[in-house]
Amino acid sequence: MNSKINIDFDAPAKNPYTVPADYFDTLTERIMQNVPEGKKPRRFFLHPMHWAAAAACVALVWSAYIYVHKTSAIETDTVAVADMEYAAEEDYSYAIIGNGDILTYLDENY
């Protein structure tokens, strides 16, 4: 039988562990060697000349956009008017022909 073992769990415990000699003396240094360099903030810098060039580019693109859209709008209007005129003319020509001329009209036009 072994001797009685008494442990007071409420009393401060004695630390049974040790560390290698000088371990704590160099600890901070060793840890910091393994800490990666911090990310440097990304600085965004633009020279006034670059700002001017960028503004010119934007203005150019914008002008081109406006020009293209205006032109296409005019073309669309023209086509629409021409179509309307043609349709009106066609209706009219069809309406004025007599019954006897229908076959001739169809032969000539279709």
């Binding site: 049974p16 562990y17 040790t18 290698p20 600890l27 840890i31 910091m32 800490v35 911090g38």
Partner: protein
């Protein structure tokens, strides 16, 4: 020795220009206590050293997530505790693969590692105590060590582990019962 001011330290840590210097001061201030907290949980010196390094590297990488709601020490202890439990799980898995007895969970093998640790200087009673503690589940072991060796209050342990103080008290008393039972069995 430079006076530690938590508020000032946090301000410097949040500032990109002073961050690294402040972090070094923080390491210098907390590393010793953190080491012992980790060592008491993971037992082996080399493991404690690895976990300590990982703790500070993780802290450095996640400094931006530190909101200042908890104390800096609590935040660091929480990282250290999680890293310690992760290492214990890893070690147990490694040892369980080698152990024939699956019920043992490799805990006894963890104690055998301690026997060969040159940095353990305890007497026979402390060796038996460590053997008993190594048989506890990981989290219960950590709670016991934080209370018994690090003399942390239940409220502090609660902040670190995220467990209620009631559950911690129950866990600690259960751990004491298991250890006492183990020691009584040894006496006979």
């Amino acid at each position: 020795m430079q006076q530690y001011d938590e508020k000032e330290m946090v301000e410097h840590l949040m500032n990109e220009k002073t961050r690294r210097r402040a972090f070094e001061q923080m390491v210098n201030h907390f590393s010793r206590r953190l080491y012992w907290q980790i060592r008491h949980v993971v037992v082996i010196h080399e493991d404690a050293d690895d976990v300590l390094q990982n703790t500070f590297i993780k802290a450095w990488k996640s400094l931006d997530t530190f909101k200042g709601e908890a104390k800096l020490s609590t935040w660091l202890y929480r990282i250290a505790y999680n890293e310690s439990i992760t290492l214990l799980n890893k070690r147990r898995n490694e040892l369980s693969l080698d152990a024939d007895d699956e019920d043992d969970d490799g805990r006894e093998a963890a104690y055998l590692q301690l026997e060969s640790d040159p940095y353990f200087d305890g007497d026979e009673t402390q060796r038996l105590l460590e053997e008993a503690v190594c048989r506890l589940p990981d989290k219960q072991r950590a709670v016991f060590k934080m209370k018994y060796y690090d003399e942390m209050k239940y409220e502090e342990i609660s902040e670190v582990t995220g467990t209620t103080t009631g559950a911690l008290k129950a866990s600690y008393h259960l751990a004491v019962e298991k250890i006492t039972k183990f020691l009584k069995a040894y006496e006979q």
